[in-house]
Symmetry: C2
Subunit: 315 residues, 2 copies
């Protein structure tokens, strides 16, 4: 759906600011609680909490993250879910979101309604109140920036730092080819992240957004390299489909494609991997794969992720 309209009567400019805000409240419905816990005051208010607070921000920009081929509801769902994936990547759970919208006055009211209704549906299904936001004009532009506040379940937020040489490297789900649909249909791994944060032998955690080859650098301890078992990498069906269309292998897609939104984490070398994996399977249907370990030098036969590149945002 094209977000802009040449017909002034169908555009945001015909509503004006106050009526637009009233419409947004209506579209969000129960997804936005009464002020000051929802839209309508200078700040949104969240009740006090005993846990560390988590904050993440991600935008969707017209022409970059979505185009006319993506339904407005799906744009909104993705915006919230990519932020939820960041909360999952710390082992936390979400508390509330605020959304800043920058738009050309020619944006169609119908597009915007679908966007907010999609946001409300996703917010309800993940239990995330939309607590506030901002609307501003941007000539020729359309971008929505969502900030998500979450909190750690226990005293610990699981970060990217903490892996040691010898740690096992794990990944959830299958990788690559997200562009064929997964980048909209993915499920943020909130329950899995929270379970991992509760286990002391899990030492570092992140979500995959720019491709395994690039993202793995963030977990790699100093003076270590990831020795990956090429045959173990869980390649998605979409990566295999893409490989048939272009000159790149399915493995290359699995290591290089962005927007997997799967979890990547490390487990202490001493861990009984079999018991760990059994405990996982009792709890989750989500696929879990050990793809290698951190070593001092590249192990014989191991795959070097530096031979692959990840997604570059500013090219």
């Amino acid at each position: 759906m094209h977000p802009f309209t040449a017909n002034t009567a169908d555009s945001v400019s015909s509503l004006g600011e106050l009526r637009l805000i009233a419409a947004i409240r209506r579209w969000l419905g129960k997804a936005t609680p009464p002020s000051p816990f929802g839209i309508g005051d200078d700040c949104a208010v969240l009740p006090a909490s005993r846990h560390p607070q988590l904050v993440t921000v991600d935008p969707v920009v017209y022409g970059e993250h979505f185009d006319d081929s993506i339904p407005a509801r799906a744009v909104a769902a993705k915006l919230l879910k990519r932020n939820l994936s960041d909360i999952a990547a710390m082992g936390g759970h979400p508390r509330a979101a605020v959304i800043a919208l920058a738009l050309d006055p020619k944006v169609s009211t119908r597009w915007l309604e679908q966007f907010y209704r999609g946001l409300a549906a996703t917010a309800r299904s993940y239990g995330v109140p939309i607590a506030g936001g901002d609307i501003t004009r941007q000539q020729g532009g359309l971008a929505a920036t969502l900030t998500l506040i979450g909190e750690a379940r226990g005293p610990r937020a699981l970060t990217r730092r903490g892996a040691k040489i010898g740690d096992w490297i794990y990944v959830t789900g299958t990788l690559g080819g997200s562009i064929l649909g997964h980048h909209h249909r993915f499920t943020p791994r909130l329950a899995e992240g929270s379970w991992l944060a509760d286990r002391r032998d899990v030492r570092s955690l992140m979500d995959l957004s720019d491709g395994l080859a690039k993202d793995l650098h963030a977990l790699t301890p100093e003076r270590a390299v990831p020795s990956l078992i090429g045959a173990a990498i869980p390649i998605s069906a979409a990566a295999r489909t893409l490989a048939k269309r272009d000159q790149r292998s399915a493995l290359t897609h699995a290591l290089s494609d962005g927007e997997d939104f799967e979890l990547l984490f490390t487990v202490a070398a001493r861990t009984d991997r079999s018991a760990f994996e059994t405990a996982w399977r009792k709890k989750f249907k989500t696929r879990l794969t050990c793809i290698g370990r951190f070593t001092r030098t590249l192990e014989a036969g191991a795959l070097n992720p530096d031979d692959f590149t990840g997604y570059e945002h500013l090219r």
Copy 2:
């Protein structure tokens, strides 16, 4: 300073994402704490707190909130300060900020350096760590969206709701003509807001961003009108200067111009106003003016704010 450059070597695109993030860390310096309390993980982490949390978000957009005539440092300072003003408007104090940047790859590195150095300077002077953020591409665009997390000092965040018929209406500072410079040079009224939240006879509070005439609606109780004393409205020198240039009166500017970033609040009718004002003057040099009260019907001789209009964002 023009933010875009035709010379690729001077542009953000020549840095690439990883080097750009490294540069941003350098420019921010001590304004960004070590990860996970600063840039570098999936989420920023804030320590647990016993107080209600406040969240506000505001952007600056090229072509809307700033242009080539505004130094990049001033753009960043304004971005943080307008969010600080929202925290002040709840009687809170700031905890941390995250910033999402959307930019064309042709944005000049020099502009961006000045922007982040300006952000760092303002963040340091208000004690606000820059805890995280995001960078994304937006063809032809340049926008920065800052989300500020704060907290109430005590159990109470002072909201826009709570005024009753008979309440006195107060405003800090002087109003109007912000466009002549105040919109960059203003001081967020954090200490004043916090002091007001501690007083039980202060019943509602907000900051003025769209002009008194428009913003006052948000505080007005049901079945009440604000009866304003025209002669009492504190008119800024800038509003008088503007009035000499255009066909509108200085009073019109004081009621209609946006971006005053002053506090507007109400005090219970029973309050000893003289004692209240004396207590204020002992604590603050900031000008304080009682500009009227909420009544059932417009008092004889009172000024009707509906005869004036405020700033309309989507026109």
